[in-house]
Amino acid sequence: MRTKNIHRIFFVITILAMLVTACAPKETAQPTSASTAPTAAPPAKEVPPVAEPIKLSMICRCVVGGTNANTANWILDYVIPEFEAEMKAQGKDVTVELVQFGGSDEELKARYALDLKAGSGNDLMAFDGFWTPEFAEGGLIKPLETIVGASYADWEGWSHISSGVQQLLSYQGQHYGVPTGTDARVIWYRKDLFEQAGIPTDWQPKSWDDILATARTIKEKLPGVTPLQLNAGTAMGEATTMQGWYMAFLGTGNNVYDFATNKFPVSGQAFLDTLNFYKTIYVDEGLGDARTQLLTDGRDRSFLSFRDGTTAMLVEGDWFWRSVIAPGGSAGMDQRNDLVNWAMMPAMTPGKGINGQDYVTVSGGTGFILNPNTKYTAESWGLMTLMYSKDSLDYFQTLQPGIKSRDDVAIPNDPILTAMAKTMLPLTTTRPSDPAYSENISPALQLMTERVVSGEMTPEQALEAFTTAMTAAIGADKVEEAK
């Protein structure tokens, strides 16, 4: 009995000792070499402060050999080595680490929000432009002017980025980051499948009915091929809103946000028309595969299915062309240039599109922001400006041609992309700079389409649920009926 008690006391003391050790501040680490030096700790006392090692980190949804591989290659092969060399020339010992995030955009957004709220995070963060209002309103990110100081405006790059493109990472007139480029959305289709179904390969539909007619032909002539994929559902996140809802809804003459009245349309016939378009495709006629829209990895499945020739038409951004199905991409097609073509997304009927247009598209953009919690403001901004120098973006163009933010960076030899930029950018529209868009409207639009394509609700029921939820969430004074 007695020994047992002694054991117990000994046990408690051991635990206590372990807790005390665990809580005690760590011994200041002596840097053994430059690469293992701590990031946050002040320089060790006896080392002269001349060669203080600085460690920066940047994060993007990019993985070598995986998603957005070329962004990762650009940063690892050009941006980081160039920057480290430049710093070395100035006598600074700077190392930059790239955190390659392999999850979805939504997961990355959640990680950012939590990191920033906790006062930490990576020094440079790849950022989707439409998150800016929500994060800025929440005080999670700060304008470059606040972080860097007024001198941020002296960067030569600003004069080469049009004000419209600058807006992508701005909120209420303040810059929060630098955009890499912009994009546009179209219908991508497989020429080989069209040929087999006897459809001309210079296809350009003029109305939703044209799209449906083509899809019906393919369904009839090519069993086993999914004719058309128009994104729906919550699993695809913003890809549903941008590549799916926007592309159809703009064709009814409405925008997701009414820039004239500063209100969000939440009801009206235009909604029912769009939802019925979805219903025809996925529920009534089985022209699209609803599974792909509902499964958690549906977007990747849609890419692979297009690559394998089991999907004939896919509404996607130019990112799909330049990154996903580019040779070596995550669903790379060696024969891409021979097998794939694009068409403009038509309005519901000619002239019924937004601003009376026959064809519609929508643009977004991504870039990098500076983390307001960075400990090395000057170096981080230096890294950012080097990354968006002309030479750097030119290098990126050799890896993956795209519509870049700087006007002195041309699209190299890619006729498809050049033609697309020329045709689509004059027709394009952008998402609203209102936090309610990303917080409420966009997820609710995704849910509404999911309810229809899964057959769970009729368009009327789904719209009613949407109208009620959004009126309650953002206020009756901020919503209106669609035209």
Partner: protein, 302 residues
């Protein structure tokens, strides 16, 4: 029961306990209170209400229990019903029945088969969640999954488990995953039954079912209740189905933990997320209370 004599004075005892109490307060009580406070505000992680949250009274709770919409999928009532189905299906029917079946099947048996099955069952239990979820999503895939390959061979076609029967899929998954605990608990409970009871019954000519009904079940009653309350608690709070279905399609597998996660960490609505967490905590407390009362009762009997 031996008489307990305090070996430490109250003062020394408090001193030794204080570090533990400090951490319990820091990591349990403070967040707990914080969640209750937040549930009365419209605090969010992003947007304007992140910096200037307002007190909204009971609004979050009223929204949760808005009976006009609460049974629509993706709302609180629907999620509670899904959770209930999930608990009954995977915890009560799946894990208790399967666990007890395995325990009784190998009761008083030795040999390679028992060791083999035991090892397999315990492996299901100790492999990390993510690995298990990944293999299950491969297993259940409509076109390439092992399960459908087998079913197809015997002429049963290729059911679309993840879309057509998503709730059944996660119930199957969780039963498979958790049966080991019940099996272990019941095995050790069975080992405490004096063999003479069963031997006497055999001499008296009792059949297999009579022995189960009249000897084993009554003696295991306490253990069954303990097991059910414990796994109900765990199943109620488990998040692993998220790895398989993400709560979808169309919220059909959105159990309460996934619902909380979606509101708080996907929509960043901490106020509403807090309100759900508070309701979930109340339910947890009720379950824990049942468990503690039962332990006390058993202690009195023994």
């Amino acid at each position: 029961m031996e008489q307990r004599r305090p070996i430490l004075t109250l003062k020394t005892g408090t001193f030794f306990l204080s570090p533990a109490i400090f951490f319990v307060i820091l990591f349990l009580i403070v967040p707990f209170v914080w969640i209750i406070v937040v549930s009365f505000t419209n605090q969010s992680l992003t947007g304007a209400t992140a910096l200037n949250p307002e007190f909204v009274g009971l609004q979050n709770y009223l929204d949760l229990f808005n009976f006009d919409t609460w049974l629509t999928r993706g709302n609180f009532g629907s999620s509670m019903i899904i959770t209930l189905e999930f608990v009954i299906g995977s915890a009560w029917i799946g894990q208790v029945v399967l666990g007890m079946g395995l325990a009784i099947a190998f009761y008083r048996r030795k040999g390679a088969l028992r060791e083999f099955v035991n090892t397999l069952v315990i492996l299901c239990w100790i492999i990390p969640d993510v690995v298990v979820a990944f293999s299950w999503s491969a297993y259940l895939d409509r076109d390439y999954g092992t399960l459908n390959a087998i079913l197809n061979l015997i002429g049963l076609g290729r059911p679309d488990w993840q879309l057509a029967f998503p709730l059944f899929a996660i119930i199957l998954f969780n039963s498979w995953r958790g049966a080991a605990f019940s099996m272990l608990l019941f095995s050790s409970a069975l080992a405490t039954i004096p063999p003479s009871y069963l031997e006497t019954a055999e001499v008296a000519g009792a059949s297999f079912w009579q022995k189960q009904r009249d000897i084993i079940l009554p003696l295991l009653r306490g253990h069954i209740l303990t097991d059910m309350v414990l796994i109900t608690l765990w199943t109620f709070n488990t998040f692993s189905p998220f790895l398989l279905t993400g709560g979808g399609p169309a919220f059909k597998t959105e159990v309460i933990s996934i619902f909380t996660y979606r509101i708080a960490f996907k929509f960043f609505d901490f106020g509403m997320g807090g309100a759900i967490a508070v309701v979930a905590m109340v339910i947890n407390f009720a379950l824990a209370l049942v468990y503690l009362l039962m332990l006390r009762k058993q202690a009195v009997y023994s």
